[in-house]
Symmetry: C2
Subunit: 206 residues, 2 copies
């Protein structure tokens, strides 16, 4: 047998799998299920979702084959976030224009459906765009959903008096205080001078 094809260089046109699946999503051709998210409907393809997300796979495989015309309702998610999630699932691309709030929600959605690479991308981008307006919300998400890199980046940002003060006047602060009081203790503990280790222990034990 003569081997003539393989991983060699090719002058063929670029890989078009992503584009074809993006077109499939847009066209809604052969969609076998519909999601309803906050009043908007999103037709989709069960096998693509199952291939890309272990969570969708577990949810959908049992229900596939059963003919049902009713939409699957998704709660606690904005339609725009679900749209971005679907777009990534089909194309591996994140929409080029997306604000910080959407990115935070997309991180949570990626975590909920276990889309590993989208989680990495969102976490990485949030880490590199921390400011006093969003740091409380990011820290909240990092703590509640378990994103250690994002948490560390937020704590690093807050290890500066003006950043900490600005965060305390931001919209997300009250929510952070009620949902994750322990992380506020960590903030205090980390800014105590090194010789006050005992004080750190006290704070963390309160």
């Amino acid at each position: 047998m003569k081997e003539i094809l393989g991983e060699e260089e090719t002058r063929a046109s670029p890989d078009d799998l992503h584009m074809h699946l993006g077109d499939l999503l847009e066209s809604k051709d052969a969609a076998d299920l519909t999601f309803q998210v906050g009043g908007e409907m999103f037709p989709a393809h069960g096998c693509v979702l199952a291939a890309r997300s272990s969570v969708f796979k577990a949810k959908l495989l049992g229900a596939m084959g059963e003919s049902s015309s009713s939409a699957i309702k998704i709660y606690d998610m904005e339609p725009g976030v679900f749209k971005a999630l679907l777009h990534f699932i089909y194309t591996e691309k994140v929409s080029p224009v997306i604000d910080v709030a959407i990115a935070s929600h997309l991180l949570v959605a990626a975590d909920r459906y276990n889309i590993g690479r989208l989680k990495q991308i969102c976490e990485e981008k949030l880490c590199s765009h921390i400011d006093s307006n969003m740091v409380a919300t990011s820290l909240d998400i990092a703590e509640q959903h378990g994103f250690p890199r994002l948490k560390e980046a937020c704590l690093r940002f807050l290890a500066s008096p003006p950043n900490l003060e600005a965060m305390m006047t931001s919209n997300g602060y009250e929510h952070l205080k009620s949902s994750c009081p322990s992380v506020l203790k960590e903030i205090i503990a980390q800014i105590l001078p090194a010789e006050w280790n005992a004080a750190k222990d006290i704070i963390m034990s309160i």
Copy 2:
């Protein structure tokens, strides 16, 4: 709105769309149709085939939704060729070990289902691996299915007396003679010296 995501560099793990679809094909999860090719069965996903091939799209979209347990029979194709075709459809990859005969058949299959990039890859590889054993078959395929680059490469190879003689003793020669007599005339015409243009005209008009 602050734009923070986009086409920037990322340190996230590599794109895994191809791998996920490859796994979907392997697992047969949520397959909604089955092809029967020469006694072998191949479960597959209609929406993926429709997204990737306009021919499958036209054939399958009408039939989708109709519950049918019978397999779709594919004629005139070896199971191994259909398997390689499906593998490319899901992953954009050609199996690393593939012989010349399979590559020729894969080119024909890619043409039949209009998988443009696979056609380009197969044609390119066949062009760069022409020898006297396969040139008659390649020329036959190039002529019958319309691959001008491959035809040109074969004619160039045959513009040498020893190559032409070796081709005439190869397995594919008799078939080429009966299926594409006109291309044999082209071979003769191209090796006539330039001053014999009139003779070329005679040959091509016979």
